[in-house]
Every structure is written in structure tokens, then in C-alpha cells.
């Protein structure tokens, strides 16, 4: 037999075009294998990121739980603190009640019985003894004034602040009206510059003006040509600054920090009467409005008091004194 080479045989058996087909199939197979491999890789990667995601979710849940716990704790602490403050507040209430009632009664008795004694035995006493009794009575009266002032001061600290638009022009004129008699008889020169409207508690702001203006009237008492000037200027961050200037007795700037303390006075009772509560009230009111107060003065060279009030929705109001 004529031997045909294997190659020849193969060529006969294999249809034409097979090698191309074979190559194509092989190539496809390879691609498929690669594809499967890539799929595996992708699946692995997806699984990995899934695990990471789950970890992240877990952590986030933990954080959320922590936040909730902290929130609860905070709420609890706020409630606790509020209860404490309420307790302190009610103690203060009962303290001022007790001041108002229990301290006033014995004072009334001191004054009452000294006066009954003066009335019944006055004619039989010596001039000096009668003077002593009058002194007792006057001192008791002064203590009564101090107690009333202290009570009013504590009330200012506790009262709620109700802010409205207050026309300073009008309010200043209203307050000046109350001093009209003295302004006229003493020929006090009063100059009022145009004033803006401010956002404040009307009654309390009026009290500030009454105090500052009455001080200006009082401390110009020794002047031959007393002068009071009231004006305003815009301050920083939209606040309004109001000033009340007088050419009165003034004060030593060395003691300026004592001006606004309770019962602190820079003048003797003989020079100028007063209990020393007025500027403390003013300070407390302005402070509770979120404003500032300061003063400039020279001994015998007059004084200028400034206060600032924050704009509407500006500045933070201080809650009632604790």
C-alpha cells in the first residue's frame, strides 16, 4: 500500500476551513476562560466590598447608638440641672418673701413705738433725748428704704423680659416730664439729640432712663448752669449706644468699677442722698438685654453714662438671674 503520510490522510479527513474554525474556537475558549476568571475576581472583589460595607454599617449603627446614649444623658443632665435651678429659684423666692415680710415688721415696730413714745412722752423729754428718738426713727426709715430697694433689685433680676420696639425719643421725653418741675425751677439746660428706636423691654428701659436722668438731675444740684445732654450713636455690630451726659459733680475714674455695685456709693449721704441701688438696677437691666454699660467722669467735671443695646435678633439675652 502506498503509504500516505499522516498529514495527507489528515488533510483528506479534515474538511477544508477547519484550521480557521479550530483557531477561532480555541480563541473563544481562551476568552471564555479569561472571562470566567475575571468573573471570579469580580465576585471576590464584590464580596470584599460587601463585607467592608457591612462593617461600615455596623460601625455607623454603633455610632448612632452612642449618639442616642449621649443625647439621653444630656437630656437627663439638663433635666437635673433645671430641677436644681428651679430649686434655687424657689429658695430665692422664699428668701425675698421673708425679707419683704419678716424684716419689715420689726422695723415698723421700731418706728411705731418710737413715735408713740415721742407723742406721749415727748413734752417731758429733754431736747437732746427727743433728737435721739428722731434719729432712731430716721435710721429705721432708712433701713426700710434699703430693704425696699433690695427687693426691687431682686425682682428686676427675676422678671421676664418682654421686648418690643421702643421709641427712645418719646420715652426720654416722657421720663423728662416727670422731672419737669425741678428742671424748670433750677433752669437745667436739657439738650436731646435725635434718638433711634430700640428693641427692649419698655418698662425696664424706662427704669434705666429714670435712674440715669434722675442721677444727672441730682448730681448737677450744685451747678449754677446745670446741663444735661442725651444722644446716641451707632455702635459695633449694629448695636445702639445711648449716652446721658451732665456737668455735675462727676466722679473719680479710679473708682469707676464701684459705680454699678449694689449699695456702692461714691458720694456721702450728706452731699447727695441715695441708697446706691439705682445704677445696680441699671446695670442689671442692660446686662439682661445683652447690652453693656460704662461711664466716664472727672471729679467736679461731670459724668457721661453710656449703655448699648443689641439690634433686634442680635445679641443673646441673659436669662433671669439664678
Amino acid at each position: 500500500m502506498s503509504a500516505k503520510s499522516i498529514v495527507e490522510l489528515a488533510t483528506e479527513v479534515v474538511p477544508p476551513g477547519f484550521p480557521e474554525l479550530y483557531r477561532t474556537l480555541t480563541a473563544m475558549n481562551e476568552e471564555l476562560t479569561l472571562g470566567v476568571l475575571r468573573q471570579h475576581e469580580l465576585t471576590e472583589a464584590a464580596e470584599l466590598s460587601n463585607i467592608q460595607l457591612q462593617l461600615e454599617i455596623c460601625e455607623r449603627k454603633k455610632a448612632e447608638a452612642e449618639i442616642q446614649r449621649l443625647n439621653l444623658e444630656l437630656e437627663h443632665r439638663v433635666a437635673e440641672r433645671t430641677a436644681q435651678l428651679e430649686e434655687v429659684n424657689s429658695q430665692l423666692e422664699s428668701f425675698s418673701y421673708s425679707v419683704s415680710h419678716d424684716l419689715r415688721a420689726p422695723l415698723r415696730h421700731v418706728m411705731g413705738f418710737v413715735n408713740l413714745l415721742l407723742r406721749d412722752a415727748g413734752p417731758t423729754l429733754s431736747e437732746k433725748s427727743r433728737e435721739h428718738l428722731v434719729t432712731v426713727s430716721q435710721s429705721a426709715k432708712r433701713m426700710g428704704d434699703l430693704i425696699d430697694d433690695l427687693l426691687a433689685f431682686s425682682r428686676i433680676g427675676r422678671s421676664e423680659i418682654r421686648k418690643t420696639e421702643v421709641d427712645l425719643n418719646q420715652t426720654v421725653r416722657e421720663v423728662l416730664d416727670d422731672f419737669q418741675a425741678e428742671i424748670k425751677t433750677r433752669k437745667i439746660w436739657v439738650e436731646i439729640h435725635p434718638l433711634p428706636s430700640v428693641w427692649a423691654d419698655y418698662a425696664l428701659l424706662r427704669l434705666v432712663l429714670v435712674n440715669l436722668i434722675s442721677n444727672a438731675v441730682k448730681f448737677t444740684g450744685a451747678r449754677a448752669e446745670p446741663k444735661i445732654e442725651i444722644g446716641s450713636a451707632p455702635g459695633a455690630a449694629g448695636e445702639t449706644v445711648v449716652f446721658i451726659r451732665d456737668n455735675g459733680a462727676g466722679f473719680d475714674p479710679k473708682y469707676a468699677d464701684k459705680l454699678f455695685g449694689v449699695f456702692q456709693r461714691l458720694h456721702s449721704q450728706v452731699e447727695f442722698e441715695g441708697t446706691g441701688i439705682g445704677l445696680a438696677n441699671v446695670h442689671r437691666i442692660i446686662h439682661r438685654h445683652g447690652g453693656r454699660i460704662w461711664a466716664e467722669g472727672v471729679v467736679d467735671g461731670g459724668a457721661t453714662f453710656y449703655f448699648s443695646l443689641p439690634p433686634r435678633n442680635g445679641g443673646s439675652d441673659e436669662p433671669p438671674a439664678k
Binding site: 415680710h101 415698723r108 418706728m111 411705731g112 413705738f113 413715735n115 429705721a140
Partner: protein
């Protein structure tokens, strides 16, 4: 003045502090009122008097022309006395004037909410105090007309109310 007289208009003073009693009586004394003044020392005594019980059992019938009521007192406070009076059909007609040291807004509100007829803060100043009490005595003792037939209460001569009061307490 005859203590048995039945038409005398009595003033009931409810006050625990003997010094305030003395000063109030001194002021009323200046008026030389025809009214008798009866003093009791706390809210419990006041209610006993008004309700004819305890040591006031068997007193002559009738209501005081006005009750001058202190607030802060032992046992039963003035506010509690007023509360009890206003809850009673008969007693709620008796005029009540609070005479107190306190000008606390909460006190004022509570008393007016209960329908007190007047609220007077005892002035610290002597002449103001005397004037306030005199005005009260004059108005409630002689000017104001109470809504009921005035009965003959146990009358205290205005010259010696403290003595009689001390006798009552003993």
C-alpha cells in the same frame, strides 16, 4: 358704751403680732369710733369666732362689719381663713381687708383671686401706718354698708380691747 348693745358694728382684727395689734388699736383709738374692736390672734381663732365655736361658742349672733386680716400667722394663715370664708354661703358676704407686710405680687394675686375686698400693705412709716389704719376704720366702720343685718357680737369697748383680749386668751 354698753357691751350688751346689739346693734354695734364690730371690727374683727386678726393679728398674731401683739405690737401690730397695739399700733393698730392706737390708730383706731384716735377715731373714737362707735365700733367695738375684737382681736383674735391667729386664723384658727378667727374661724372659731366667725363659726361660733370653741371659746366663741355661745357668743351673740351676728357678723363683724369687716375683718382686718393679717396673712402670715401661726396655725391657720390669713389666706386659708379667706378661702374658708369664701367657700361658705353665709361667711362669704363678710367684707375682708387684708392688712399685711407683704407686697409680693403672688400674694396680691392669690388674695384678689379669692375675692378679697381690699389689700393694704402695712406702711413702714409711722404716720403712714396710722393714716392707713384710720382710713380703714373710718371707711369700713362708718361709711360702708354691709349686706346683712348687724348682730350684737361680743362687744369690746374701744377703750379697753387689749385688756378684754387678754382675758379671752387666759
Amino acid at each position: 358704751m354698753n357691751p350688751q348693745q346689739s346693734d354695734v358694728k364690730n371690727i374683727l382684727l386678726v393679728e398674731d403680732d401683739p405690737r401690730d395689734v397695739q399700733m393698730t388699736l392706737a390708730a383706731l383709738d384716735e377715731l373714737h369710733l362707735a365700733n367695738g374692736i375684737l382681736v383674735v390672734h391667729d386664723g384658727a381663732e378667727a374661724l372659731d369666732y366667725l363659726c361660733h365655736r370653741g371659746k366663741f361658742k355661745g357668743r351673740l349672733p351676728g357678723h363683724p362689719v369687716v375683718v382686718l386680716l393679717d396673712n402670715k400667722m401661726p396655725k391657720v394663715s390669713g389666706l386659708e381663713v379667706l378661702k374658708t370664708m369664701k367657700a361658705d354661703e353665709e361667711m362669704k358676704m363678710i367684707p375682708v381687708v387684708v392688712l399685711t407686710s407683704s407686697r409680693e405680687p403672688s400674694d396680691l394675686r392669690e388674695f384678689y383671686q379669692l375675692g378679697v375686698n381690699a389689700y393694704v400693705v402695712k406702711p413702714v412709716d409711722f404716720s403712714d401706718f396710722m393714716a392707713a389704719v384710720r382710713q380703714l376704720g373710718l371707711f369700713w366702720g362708718t361709711v360702708n354698708v354691709p349686706p346683712y343685718e348687724l348682730g350684737g357680737n361680743e362687744v369690746v369697748d374701744h377703750n379697753g380691747p387689749v385688756a378684754l383680749l387678754e382675758k379671752k386668751r387666759a
